[in-house]
């Protein structure tokens, strides 16, 4: 009996299995997108917004479902994506740069920039330095003065080790020539922000989008932006460079879509042509703006260049750590 079923199954597979994804009829079923952070986090929330129009006829024509695989600063999700995800074009992933590149340089994971094929970038979220609303510190100079007087005693939170916030923290230590106490939070950006608001730590590095909302709610002050230029959301907050610290945009959190290596070229081409257009949809832009999330759309070629450049800067920065 079982043999018969197995035989029938094989025959059926042979009949239908030849319908390979060649780009013409792709996609013919719903697509899934893996986010390696928990539901409700900044990456998850933005991923849900930018994919909401995927089902439209002028986009992919099929909906994209978000699936969360959180853990260990994204390592769990990206490890799964590099080693177990099917490279058939129906499994997309969200990337966070510099996180996954820094983690792959540090080692202990099964992925690197060579494991993934970028499709398009949707957002760039710079890191900012925040302190609680009732803190005495009002500028980066106050922060660094305190750190100079009390080496290693300035506690400040961030989303984890070898993520954008940690990169920013390392850059700050290097540029200001001080020793700080970086406290990685296992609950990510939200947990790190809570530690600042509750006074568990004296300050923190966090996402601009989350800090913008927290400042609007009156719970934190933003002292500086880890980027090369001021941000449209925070025109009054100076960059680190303006305050005299030589820090570039290496920690800016780029978020976008990728597929595993080995995905058919036709599928990659189709996605690379469609997805950036999908991000440009007016409704997407409106929802992103309402949420305080800066958009930054980049095509596949631009992302490839950006990945290569980040790989270089981060290798230098993380040397000897």
């Amino acid at each position: 009996m079982k043999k018969l079923i197995a035989g029938a199954a094989l025959a059926l597979m042979a009949l239908t299995g030849t319908a390979q994804a060649d780009g013409h009829n792709y996609p013919d079923r719903p697509i899934m997108m893996m986010v390696s952070y928990g539901a409700g986090g900044a990456t998850d929330f933005q991923a849900r917004i930018v994919t909401m129009t995927a089902g439209n006829e002028d986009a992919l024509g099929m909906p994209i479902a978000i699936i969360n695989k959180p853990g260990a600063g994204g390592r769990v999700g990206w490890n799964w994506f590099a080693t177990q995800a099917e490279a058939d074009g129906y499994t997309l992933g969200a990337y966070n740069v510099p996180h996954f590149i820094a983690q792959s340089i540090k080692g202990g994971v099964d992925y690197s920039t060579d494991s993934f094929e970028p499709i398009a970038n949707w957002g760039a979220d710079p890191a900012v330095f925040v302190v609680a609303a009732n803190s005495d510190m009002n500028s980066m100079a106050d922060v660094i003065d305190f750190a100079k007087a009390n080496p290693g005693k300035l506690t400040f939170s961030g989303a984890g080790l070898f993520v954008g916030h940690h990169i920013a923290a390392l850059q700050l230590e290097k540029a200001a020539g001080v020793k700080l106490a970086y406290i990685p939070n296992k609950k990510g950006g939200a947990g790190a922000m809570k530690a600042v608001i509750a006074g568990d730590v004296m300050g923190g590095v966090n996402n601009l989008s989350d800090a913008f909302r927290a400042q609007a709610a009156g719970t934190v002050k933003i002292l500086g932006v880890f980027d090369v230029a001021r941000n449209d959301f925070l025109p009054d907050v100076p960059t680190m460079m303006e305050q005299g610290y030589d820090i570039d945009n290496a920690s800016v959190n780029f978020r976008g879509v990728m597929v595993p290596k080995g995905t058919p070229q036709a599928v990659i081409d189709k996605l690379a042509a469609t997805v950036p257009e999908m991000f440009k949809n007016g409704r997407v832009a409106g929802k992103m703006k309402a949420g305080g999330s800066p958009m930054h759309i980049m095509t596949r070629e631009e992302v490839q260049a950006m990945w290569a450049k980040r790989q270089e800067t981060l290798t230098t920065l993380l040397e000897g750590l």
Partner: protein, 151 residues
């Protein structure tokens, strides 16, 4: 056998406990294994304690498994393991569920095997259950299930 059965679980737990201890005290980086070391130590001590009291005859809460029970459950476990470890992904969720439900109902339903209506009833149970699952998960909620060619 039945007299000594109750020693098996604490013995297995002791072995696991000692292994966990060994791994957490020897692995690097040590900083990541600080908490596992505390847990492993308490785990191993409690497991040895549990083993000792089991050997000395503490029988609190022991129900044991009779040979008859073991014979009863074995086919079910085998079918369940095939269903979960292979069929669900190999055949597709709904096909595998239909097969496993039908086989399990046939295995454990006390109705006589040599009557036609028994088999009709078993078939009906399977069909209704799979239909309800399909309608709820696939049509109504549109959630993912392990998929292969035979849906």
């Amino acid at each position: 056998m039945t007299r000594w059965q109750h020693i098996i679980p604490p013995a297995v737990l002791t072995l696991v406990g000692l292994w966990v201890c060994y791994v957490s005290y020897t692995s690097e980086p040590a900083a990541a294994f600080l908490f596992p070391r505390i847990v492993a130590t308490v785990f191993a001590v409690l497991a040895v304690w549990g083993l000792a009291s089991a050997v000395l005859g503490d029988g609190s809460g022991n129900q044991g498994i009779s040979a008859q029970m073991f014979r009863n459950m074995l086919p079910g476990i085998v079918v369940g393991a095939i269903y979960i470890f292979w069929a669900a992904k190999g055949l597709g969720f709904y096909t595998a569920t239909a097969l496993s439900t039908f086989v399990l109902v046939a295995l454990y339903d006390p109705a006589p095997h040599n009557r036609l209506w028994t088999w009709g009833k078993r078939f009906a149970i399977t069909a209704v259950f799979v239909a309800v699952m399909y309608l709820l998960f696939s049509v109504l909620l549109n959630v993912y299930t392990p998929k292969e060619k035979l849906f």
